[in-house]
C-alpha cells in the first residue's frame, strides 16, 4: 500500500481518465469482486495507516466471499434515524454488518459557491445555514477568519457575548443530540425532554437575535446587537433548569440497564484510529485524547474561563453519551462564569470601515446614510491574503479557510465541517456490529448533514 517516495526522479504512470469513475452507481457500494483491495479494506473499516493486525487482521477480510452469501441493503437517504439525508449502503451477513459505505451529497447546497458571490457582510447569512444545530459556531468561525484577514481586534464585550452565545449553542446542540440519540435507542421520553429544555435556549436566542436559529448574529466586527435587558436572569434560569434536569437524564438513561446494554462496548474506537481518520470533537475525546481547541488553542474568551476537558476511556457509544452529558454541565459552568465576568462596552468595533453608522445618525446625516448604504451594498474591502481559522464546535474542529483577492467578496471560502470528516469513521464503528446498533453508532457520531454537504 505504501508507495516508495525515496526514488528520484519519479515517473508517474498516469491512467487515462475517463468518465467511467463517475458513471451510474459509482458512489454506491459494489460487489466484492468489483472492488479493489484498498477500497474494500476501507469499507470494512481498516485504517490503512496503521500496521496490519492493529486495527484489522487482513485475514479477516474475505476477498473471495461469494456475493450470494451476503446482502447489500440501502438505508436512506430518506430514513427516520439517519440524522438527515445520509445514505448508507451496508453489506450484511444476517444481521451483522460486514461493509459500510456512507453516500453523501443529498443536501449539497453550493454554499461555498454562493459564498463567493456574497460580500463579507452578507457572508454570515450564508454560512449560518450550514450547521443548523449550532449556527453561532459557523458564524463565529467565518467572522474570525474575516477579522484575521482585516487585522482588527473586536471589543471585549463582543468577545464575551460571542463566547456566551457559543456556549448556549453548545448546550442546545447537545440537548438536541440527547433527544435524537434517545429516539434512536427507543427512548421516546428522552426525545420529549431534550426538546423541552432546548426550547428554553431557543426562546433566549429569539429574544436576543430575533430568530430561533440561523441567526446571523455574529458578524465580522462584533455582533449584531447588544444583549437584551435582564439577560442575566434569563440565562441563569436556563442554567439552573438544565442543570437540574441533566440529573433527571442520569436517572432515565445513565443507570438504566437496557440503555447501558445497548451502548457499552458498541462502536468502539481507539485513539490511534481516531487520529489517523482526522476525527475531532467528542469522538476524539471519547477515546481519551484531551484535545479541545477551547483549551489547547484558546480563542475568544476561553482562556479566561475555568472548565474541564471531558475525556472518555473506551471510545464506545456510552462514553460519547456520558461525555456529551458532562459537556452540558461544563457549558453551564462556563455560562455562569460568563454572566459574572461580562464586561461593559461596545458590542461591535467602532471602525467606520467595517461598522455601519447607528440608526439614529442615518436620519440626521446624509453622509451616514451613504456610508450605511455602501457598507450593505458594496461591503468593505479585505486585504489580499489567506487564512485558516478554527474553533471547537459541538461536533469537532470547525475550520474556515478563506482566500481574499483584495475585493469585498471572498475569493474562496471553504468550511471544514467536522461531521464531514467524522463520517469517515462509520465503516469502522459499524463493522461486526448488529444492524440495530448501526443506528446508535450513526447517532453517536452526531452528523449534521447541512455541514457535511454544505
Amino acid at each position: 500500500m505504501t508507495a516508495d517516495f525515496t526514488e528520484t526522479p519519479r515517473v508517474i504512470e498516469r491512467p487515462t481518465w475517463s468518465t467511467k469513475e463517475t458513471s451510474e452507481g459509482a458512489q454506491e457500494l459494489s460487489f466484492r469482486d468489483e472492488t479493489d483491495s484498498a477500497e474494500l479494506g476501507r469499507e470494512v473499516g481498516a485504517v490503512l495507516r496503521l500496521e496490519d493486525g492493529k486495527v484489522l487482521d487482513p485475514a479477516q477480510i474475505d476477498f473471495d466471499r461469494p456475493d450470494d452469501e451476503t446482502m447489500i441493503i440501502n438505508m436512506g437517504p430518506q430514513h427516520p434515524s439517519t440524522h438527515g439525508v445520509l445514505r448508507l449502503m451496508l453489506e450484511l451477513d444476517g444481521e451483522v454488518v460486514l461493509r459500510t459505505k456512507p453516500i453523501i451529497g443529498y443536501l449539497h447546497t453550493g454554499m461555498e459557491k454562493t459564498g463567493e458571490e456574497l460580500t463579507y457582510v452578507q457572508g454570515a447569512t450564508n454560512v449560518t445555514r450550514m450547521d443548523y444545530m449550532s449556527p453561532f459556531h459557523t458564524e463565529t468561525v467565518f467572522s474570525l477568519a474575516t477579522e484575521a484577514l482585516l487585522g482588527i481586534e473586536i471589543p471585549d464585550r463582543a468577545v464575551w457575548i460571542r463566547t456566551l452565545m457559543l456556549e448556549l449553542n453548545r448546550l442546545s446542540s447537545h440537548l438536541l443530540w440527547m433527544a435524537t440519540n434517545g429516539m434512536d435507542l427507543g427512548s421516546t421520553s428522552m426525545m420529549i425532554y431534550g426538546f423541552r429544555e432546548r426550547e428554553m435556549v431557543m426562546s433566549f436566542f429569539e429574544k436576543t437575535t430575533g430568530l430561533r436559529f440561523n441567526n446571523n448574529f455574529v458578524r465580522p466586527g462584533g455582533v449584531a446587537a447588544d444583549l437584551p435587558d435582564g439577560w442575566e436572569d434569563d440565562v441563569a434560569v436556563i442554567c439552573d433548569t438544565v442543570l437540574a434536569r441533566s440529573f433527571e437524564y442520569d436517572d432515565l438513561l445513565t443507570g438504566q440497564p437496557i440503555f447501558r446494554e445497548r451502548t457499552e462496548g458498541v462502536g468502539g474506537l481507539t485513539a490511534e484510529e481516531a487520529l489517523a481518520l482526522s476525527v475531532t470533537g467528542p469522538l476524539l475525546r471519547s477515546t481519551g485524547v484531551p484535545w479541545d481547541l477551547r483549551r489547547t488553542m484558546p480563542y475568544l474568551a476561553y482562556g479566561e474561563l475555568d472548565f474541564d476537558v471531558i475525556v472518555g476511556t473506551y471510545g464506545d457509544n456510552f462514553d460519547r453519551y456520558a461525555l456529551r452529558l458532562a459537556e452540558i454541565r461544563e457549558s453551564i459552568r462556563m455560562i455562569r462564569q460568563i454572566i459574572e465576568k461580562m464586561p461593559s462596552g461596545d458590542y461591535r468595533i467602532q471602525d467606520p470601515k467595517v461598522t455601519p453608522p447607528p440608526r439614529g445618525r442615518i436620519d440626521a446625516s446624509m453622509e451616514a446614510l451613504i456610508h450605511h448604504f455602501k457598507i450593505f451594498t458594496e461591503g468593505f474591502k479585505v486585504p489580499e491574503g489567506e487564512v485558516y481559522a478554527a474553533i471547537e464546535s459541538p461536533r469537532g474542529e470547525l475550520g474556515c479557510y478563506m482566500v481574499s483577492d483584495g475585493s469585498s467578496k471572498p475569493f474562496r471560502m471553504h468550511i471544514r465541517g467536522p461531521s464531514f470528516v467524522n463520517l469517515q469513521v462509520l465503516p469502522l464503528l459499524l463493522r461486526g456490529g448488529l444492524l440495530s446498533d448501526a443506528v446508535a453508532c450513526i447517532s453517536s457520531v452526531d452528523p449534521v448533514m447541512g455541514e457535511v454537504d454544505r
Binding site: P77, Q78, H79, P80, G84, V85, G105, Y106, L107, H108, T109, G110, M111, K113, T114, T125, N126, R129, Y132, M133, L176, A179, M191, I192, Y193, F195, R196, R198, E199, M202, R212, F213, N214, M449, G450, D453
Partner: protein
Amino acid sequence: MGLEDLPHNFLTGRVEDLVKWARRSSVWPVTFGLACCAIEMMAAGAADYDLSRFGMEVFRNSPRQADLMIVAGRVSQKMAPVLRQVYDQMMEPKWVISMGVCASSGGMFNNYAIVQGVDQIIPVDVYVPGCPPSPETLMHAILTLHEQIRTGEITKRRAEGRPLEIDAAASPWVPGKPQAVQIGTPR
C-alpha cells in the same frame, strides 16, 4: 320532513362531510426532513408545540402510510429524484406542504445545486414562508391545510404532479448555465 318523530340521539349529515372530517382530523405526515426546517418540524412535534392536538403527531416512516408530505428544507438536484419517488409511493389522497423558503422557491440559494422550488417536482398545497419557519408558522400552515380539506372536494383527484414540460430543444439544460424555469404549481 318527518325527522321530528325520531329520537334525539343521532345527527344527520352528508357522507362527504364525514369523510372530510375524518381526513382532516388524522393527517399523518411522512418524515421528510431535509435541513434546518426539519429541526423546527421536530420541535413542532415535541413537547412545547405538540402537534398531536391536531391529530398529526404520528409521523410515519413509510410513505405508504402517510397522507401528507412536509418538505422541510432545501431540495438539492441529487435529492430531487428521491423526493419524487417518495411522493409517488404515497397513497391518494395526499397533500404537500412546502416548508420554508428553500423548498418553496430556492430561497437564498439560487445556484447550481438547489431545485428552485419543490413545486417543479411535485404539486404543493400550502407554502410556508420563513427561514426557518417557526413551529407556530408550520402549525398555521397545517390549519390552513385542514381548512382546504374541509372545504375541498373529496372525489376529485388532484392534478397529476408531473414536472412542467420544458421544451428541451428550446432551452437545453446546460449545468451551471441559467435556465428559464416557471415557478408555480403545474396546471
